[in-house]
Every structure is written in C-alpha cells, then in structure tokens.
Symmetry: C2
Subunit: 205 residues, 2 copies
C-alpha cells in the first residue's frame, strides 16, 4: 500500500530545485515565501506539508546545491593526481561554474547568509560548516601530498588550504559583482603562479 489519498500535484525534486535557485539568487532572508511558492508553482500549505518550514526547505536546498552544483567544483580534490592539480582544477572549475549564463553567479553557500547575525542561527551554522568543510578537505589533500612525496614535510597544509579557500570565497563576491569568466580565470592563474614559492616556504606565524 504505497499510495493513499490524493496524489501530490507537483514534483518534490523539481520544486526543491526551483527553491534552490531562489535562495541562491536572493539569499535566505530576502527570499520570501511569496518568491518561493511562486517559483515552485505551489501554495504555502503545500510547501509546509512537503518541507516543514522555510529553514528546513533552505537546508534541503543547500544539500541539493552541494550535491549538484558544488560537487563539480570539489569532487576533483580527491581524484586529481597531484595536490597542485587538485587546487588548480578547483579554481578553474570555480571560474567556470560562477559564470554560467543560466545560473546565479557565485556560490550559494558563501552568499546566502554571510552576516552570521540576525538571520536564522541554524541557517548560518549550516553554511559555515559547509564552508569549513572545504578547508578540511583541501588540508587533507595537501597532507596526502606530503605522504606521497609531492610536497616537503615542512608544508603548512592548513595555512595553504585556508589561503586557497579564502580566495575561492572571494571569487563569489567578484562573480556576483559581474566579473567575467576571463577575469576569474586570470585570478586563478595569479594564485597558481605562486605555487612553487608557496609550498617551498613554511608559515609558522
């Protein structure tokens, strides 16, 4: 008995995808229930029945974003043959992903609620955790590169991971301000041009 009662009149996944786009464009607070229900093609009672609350809907949207949009950027960290390739790929893919014509520019996780105050605390914490996950992922990859003798043991993996993630976050601001793909790629090139010097020095504050 899988189905009882009136069947839903909308597709949950595609409605969630529409909601994701609204949050991506406007951020959490500026995305009103009216914006969301209009984009999703449903009324608010259906939204609340299917997702629980605006906060819960947002968290599902972030999850979907990470799974679809974000994975294209970060999945290569593990698979790239070297740490250098991994980071170069992250920056280059970021430049491309942030300037697709049919999508909002920049990263939902960076732009949706950066103030960390006044907005819903659960929302802020969820986004912050995802931002910091990127640092950990990069740091682990750099540590692996030390183990594989790509990088010297003196490499400050945490500092380097923080550095590249910081740049990648800044690219969200640039993209939302209208920077072209070429501009973002040039930024990536600037960062990578310093790679040899970066991994050759130690940063012990």
């Amino acid at each position: 008995m899988p189905q009882r009662g009136r069947p839903p009149g909308f597709d949950r996944e595609s409605a969630l995808r529409q909601a994701m786009e609204v949050f991506w464009t406007k951020g959490f607070d500026n995305a009103s229930l009216t914006d969301l229900t209009r984009a999703m093609g449903i009324n608010s009672p259906s939204l609340y029945a299917a997702f629980g609350s605006k906060e819960a809907l947002f968290k599902e949207a972030v999850e979907l974003y990470s799974r679809t949009e974000g994975s294209g950027i970060w999945e290569q960290v593990e698979t790239a043959p070297t740490a250098r390739d991994a980071i170069a790929q992250v920056l280059r893919t970021t430049a491309e992903a942030f300037t697709r014509g049919d999508e909002p520019r920049g990263c939902l996780i960076v732009l949706a609620a950066p103030q960390m105050q006044g907005a819903n605390p659960g929302v802020c914490d969820a986004l912050k955790a995802r931002r910091q996950h990127n640092v950990c992922q990069l740091e682990r990859r750099l540590q692996r590169a030390i183990n594989e003798n790509e990088l010297p043991a003196s490499t400050d993996c945490r500092a380097i991971a923080n550095y590249f993630v910081t740049l990648q976050h800044g690219m969200s601001i640039q993209a939302r301000d209208g920077a072209s793909r070429e501009t973002l790629l040039a930024i990536a090139d600037c960062a990578m041009s310093g790679w040899e010097a970066l991994v050759g020095v130690s940063h012990e504050a």
Copy 2:
C-alpha cells in the same frame, strides 16, 4: 541665527556611528528600524528627521565606515614606497582590522548586502562601487610601479589587482566565520610568498 527651536537631544555623529555598527554586524536588511533606533538611543521620528530614510542612513554609515575603518586599510596604497609593500600592508592591516575584539569581524562593504538582488538596489550599487574602487586603486598603484621601474612593463596590473582584492574580500568571510588573526596573517603570507613569480609572468588570457 544658527539655532532656532528645540535643540536636538542627541549627537548626530555618535548616533551615526552606532548605526554603522548595527549595519556592520547585521547587514542592511537584517538591521531593523528597532535595532537601529535602540542602538542610536533615539526614536524613529528623530531618525527620519536627521537622516531621511533607512537607505540614506545606511549610505551615510558606509561613508563613515570608509572614512574611519576602511581608510586604515587602504590609505597606505599610495604612500607605501613600493607596490609590493603597499599590497603586503593592505593584507596585513586587513588581518588586524578584521580581528579587533571590539568591532564586528570582516568588512561592512563586503558583508552588508552581497546578494545584489531583493535588497535595495541603491544599497547594492553603492557597495559594489566601493568594492570596485579598491581594484582601481590597486591597479593604478601597480601601474605606477611599472612607471617607477619596480615592475616589468609586461605586468598585468588589472589581473593582479583583481587577485589581491578577491583574496581580501574572502578574508571578510573567513573573519566572520571566526578565523583568528594568526590565520588571516598566514593567508596574507601565503599570498605574498608568490609575489616574485606573480609579477614575473604575464596574464594575457
């Protein structure tokens, strides 16, 4: 006849400073009139008589921010003896300014309304213009360094300016996420370690 009628019961400058702190902490939209009037120690009619509207108050607050907080970061661009020193100073001062215990972390101009949609368009444009002003300022300084034979004529000043400003914007996100001063300084060191390689290559892509 400079003064007629009942004198104001509050100091306009210090009230504006309080408003700036609220906008800095919460962003434009999340800073409610209640938040503002409570912090400023006045009622809304006084606020509107003195500043006109929430948007006008915000723009004055941004102006004050640039004049006081921001100038400490960017004023050295012109006075530093070399372009390299200028940029190193910007990044180092940024790390310090973003982690003062008595002030909100990160930059008001980056964090107050980054979505660029849904929020007040005038507010978004004003902040975007100030962000891009930093790029132009850095680019001009790098161009000057070419003229002064500090840098080769092939240096891509715009790409380099974009690169460092992007990193500086990312530092706002890191600071708001709780990064320590040491972490931000290490990020600055990472960026500066690539300086020689950066100014030695051209970025004509």
